[in-house]
Amino acid sequence: MDLVTPKPPEEILPLEVWALILDHLTSPFDLINCNQTCKAWEKILELKKTTFLMPKVFPILNEYLETLEYDEEEDEELENGNEEREKPITTILKMRLVSHGWKESVDDYHQNHPELNDIGFMENCDDEDEPFTLLPYHFDGGDWNSVRKLESFLGKGFFTGSNPLITRYVEHHECAQNKQMQSRFQTAFKRFLEEFGSQIWTCNLLCTAENKADFYRVVRSYLRLMPNLRSLRIQISHDWRSKEDSKQEELKLLLENKPLPRLQHLRTLQMNNIPYPLSVGLLTTNKQLQKLSLQKQNDDDDDLLPDYVVDVHLPNLKQLSLICSEMELLQLHKVCWPIKALRLMIPAKEQVLKNIFLTVSSTFSNTLEHFVVNRRDSHHIEELTQITLELPALKILQLDTLCRVETIDFLQGCPALQEIKLYLKVPPIKEHEEYSLNSLLFMDEDDNEVIKFKNCITSMNQSNIWRILKDLQFIIIETEEDKIMVMVGVEALPYLFFEWHKFTRRQFEKFSRTN
């Protein structure tokens, strides 16, 4: 039979036979592919629509159910005693029992929920306040009850090789009160990983160890059992510095003789306070990383960006997030990763922004598109004078640190900017008083190409910023008083005062159209 020349399906087999074959498909993802193959198959699969549309419909339905839960809370406050509605979690779990296709749709959504993997720009990857998302499988070695909970999971009768982890997300918090408890918890966790480790995609590991070598060995033994990890967050819970530690040479040998497994699917890595040799091991064995977050808590911990990073090649790295001291931030020039997004959490007090701008401009000028700076102390004022920022590819700039600036001419070094958010120190705005920023911020000098905010209260739309930064869609200036001065794009209105948290970008746009 000629299988090369495309033919209508009925010339290959009678449609009744195709119907019998297609009837065996259960995965919605296979079904949707077949549905799009040809008209004849589309017709045959018409009745399976409620299966193969579910992966796309479920996220929308999920959001809808969430609003119902929200409404219910409101109702309770208003009426105090409504008829009890089925909880969304019950609805979701019930949907998993309807058919293979529905189960796959629900699980696919939870396993691929983007928030879980976007740790580079989020403080937490586990939002337990979310009333509705299935929580990770949390195993806490802090007391005997928790140890027994883990052991009871193993005794539930799940089949080895099956996946009982709906979210494929496991949290392991090992903060045992004594050696015996720690040992029993570690044994049970390893048994758990031996049976189901290959099913885990996202893992949040908080481990205890007495020294760097032990920490390396424990984590290595866990990682070897989780070969399909996509996202890993790793923290150390014990103050290992108080103990006798191995010499640097011994640690180096450990890294060479007992290398870490390569986690070929790992895309996101968050390391909080991770010492040598685990830190270098994780970076050198996982060159495919796309998102990396590094955090240092104490000044005498290992450097976040030690000299070896010069030789660490991460050609696919797109996002980098650093939480560290001033010294560390100035080491940024060592990295040669082609990142597009950079988020820096800067120290509470020091004046560092000027130097950071210089370092970032010289290191990432070709690739950086999104630059965010946060500060631990939101009241500290950074004085910015004679600063430069040269990032020709930058589209989004977000400075969430209180600054006093004379001018924002430095933005001219970023001609591709689309969105700007600044947090500025300005004098308090009295009630009923219109306050103009121009006298404080922006020099109204002649008519040269200086970014001017001529009387921004009434005529921001006439500012030359829209001409100089041609792609600019909006600029947001937040002041200390929890009020926001919003100045929206070319079509825009002159000003709006709003509380920041209530308004999304879409609403800004809507306001700019309707006003």
Binding site: L53, T91, W102, F153
Partner: protein, 169 residues
Amino acid sequence: MALVRVISSDGAAFLVSQRLAKRSGKLKTEIETFRKSSDNSEAQPEIRIVTIRAEILRLVLQWLQQHQNDPVLPANQNEQDGRGDAEMGQSQWDRDFLAPMDLGIVMELILAANHLEVKGLLDITCKLVESKITGRTVDEIRTAFKLKSDFKGNEEEQTRLENRWCVEN
């Protein structure tokens, strides 16, 4: 009256007024983009919707026609006033509109309303599907959605175990 041609994935063209089309967030953006890029301000915009077939697009336009004088609902009602508007948006006409539909078609409408950003239609279709699941037994859900259990061996039992652990956990 300014018109716009909206073309479905299977090539059917619908000529509708721009005023009506602009009640869909997506079509509104598309019309504005066309305006900006076109030299001729009188030119009739043509918008191809590659993910929605004619039968479904017709239903969306029919719903928009019926609701063309309703106030436009905010994209996210909770940010506006903290209240859902599904009940508010559902009229007898809506109930009659949805009543003869197979749930497969309703699911297609959910995707279409979501894609075209038609909040009111999205609300009533989601509400309908949700009502066929919440408070029903698994068998009732299978009947409503014309599905049969395709679990083999003890897969269903395994799924029940997983669900139970989720709740206990």
